[in-house]
Symmetry: C2
Subunit: 318 residues, 2 copies
């Protein structure tokens, strides 16, 4: 089968990938649509030590086993595959299982291919009313919902989302639907048109210092952490969503002096993400700016690195 | 009066300091004993932009006003003097009042002098059973207690205290009394003899990675943050107690990937600190390794920078 393979420091389209042949508790999913995320770009730069097929945001159809309960269902899937028996798993932290594999990121072939294997337990059915073009956003949407799963925001909290790229706009869209007292910090004011509301918009450095209770760093840029820190009131909360190779200019002493809480936040609840999409109050597909067939996957990666693009999709039909 | 003055980048003993002449809501305290802290050393290196009399850990006797309720009382005092009317103060964060002064740190003459002024509301009476030599530790002790004021530790939490200097040993002593499942990371195993118990002791890099629920960085050293981060389990909590001019080798991406919470923590409840001292289950005076008269204050600062010293006191009687 076809797939986008990162190997020996190089990304290429492979046409002879082995078909997945999973163990009994896993199923084979035919990938319908997949999304390119900042993590994929980082992996393709060689920053994360992964070799294999990339991709972890997808919607697909269950192909095998043929007699399984999910056969034929349209699904999205959680990307973490824990061992289920270790201390972390028993402590209720399966996403932090040290023996886990992660779809397209760690020890498991990813979704920029015609088919993938995942544990049946990871899959969530997509309701008929949610088209593929929305469902493909379930994974990053779950990551946004993770923030409030960790610590609910209070109604009076002023929230700054730092970054108006893929994840920042998704977080802003979610926040507007949920009634956050939101401001967006970014470089593309024209992107406000994509959101279900018009939050205040500031360029980096433009919003008043020490004026937010919560700042979410979705910037994926070296300076995002420092900007989020600058925006926070004392005792404020900095939610760190993105990994970047370097961080610039952040004075960690401000964390002590102003008693800031920095909360790392990663993968979230896929079932809640699907439920959010089914509500239809914010349609993430407005963030899709390009769609390529899998056979043009290298072009998709080039496009995704262009700051003018927001979400780039891969369509395995082509 | 005499005092240790930091001015124009230089610390000196001044003999002609003006006596404090405070407003009506403040009192004059004769300083009996004062403690040198890492923050004083940082200020004396010019890192914090403060000029004036240093010192913020003290025990003293209220001298004026003569008809005040506290006259003649032996007291310790909170170091933050908020405005009381701004948004932060009204929100219940007076320690973060942007107009605050801080004893010997920000806009207010400090306790390495014969007398200081502080708001009466900041003072806590010291019970007769608590000698000056213990009471002088009330301020850093309150800072240790602040950690659980922010977020109580659970009985099953494994806690690593990183740093076996002044603050680390104080935190370890408190933790042993409170029943924390404690380990100490440091460079001076012989200092375990000072503690009310024998916790496991590791050199930096020596304790198993990802094995603690809570890590407290009391190191005051550039590598302490990275060591604390290394020790934490996923979803663990890193309490940051010390400010340092630089930090080395910390990979902030681990905060995201392992969903670590970093909690900045500063000043704490003085009344609780005095109550802890009154219990007498851990006597911080065991950490005092040198005591100088105020007139030898420069020698005290030299001594305090020697890693062989733990707590250095200044006695205003001399």
């Amino acid at each position: 089968m076809k797939g986008l393979l990162f190997q020996q420091g190089r990304l290429r389209l492979a046409r002879d990938l082995p078909e997945p042949s999973p163990p009994a508790d896993e199923v084979v999913v035919h990938v319908r649509l997949a999304g390119v995320c900042a993590t994929d770009l980082e992996i393709a730069k060689g920053y994360m030590g992964f070799e294999g097929v990339l991709g972890h945001e997808f919607v697909g159809t269950v192909e095998a086993p043929e007699r399984g309960a999910l056969h034929g269902s349209r699904v999205v899937g959680g990307i973490n595959c824990p061992c289920g028996v270790c201390e972390r798993c028993r402590e209720g932290m399966p996403f932090h299982c040290p023996a886990r594999t992660v779809l397209g990121i760690l020890g498991r072939q990813g979704a920029f291919a015609e088919r993938i294997a995942l544990p049946a337990a990871n899959l969530v059915r997509v309701p008929d009313g949610v088209p593929d073009e929305e469902a493909v956003f379930a994974e990053p949407l779950a990551a946004v919902l993770r923030m409030e799963e960790q610590n609910p925001f209070a109604p009076r909290d002023r929230v700054a989302v730092v970054g108006d790229g893929r994840l920042g706009l998704l977080a802003a869209g979610v926040g507007l639907v949920k009634g956050w007292r939101l401001a967006l910090v970014g470089k593309h004011p024209e992107r406000l048109d994509l959101l279900p509301g018009r939050p205040p918009f500031f360029p980096p450095g433009g919003a008043p210092a020490s004026s937010f209770d919560i700042a979410v760093d979705c910037s994926g840029s070296p300076g995002g952490f420092a900007e989020a820190l600058r925006l926070l009131k004392p005792q404020g909360r900095l939610v760190l969503k993105t990994t970047v190779a370097l961080r610039e200019g952040a004075d960690l002493n401000r964390i002590v002096i102003d008693e800031i809480r920095v909360i790392g936040s990663r993968c979230g609840p896929m079932d809640q993400a699907v439920a959010f999409l089914a509500e239809g109050r914010f349609k993430p597909s407005v963030l899709t700016t390009a769609r390529f067939p899998l056979s043009k996957g290298l072009d998709a990666f080039s496009a995704a690195q262009n700051p003018g693009q927001i979400k780039v999709l891969l369509d395995t039909a082509g």
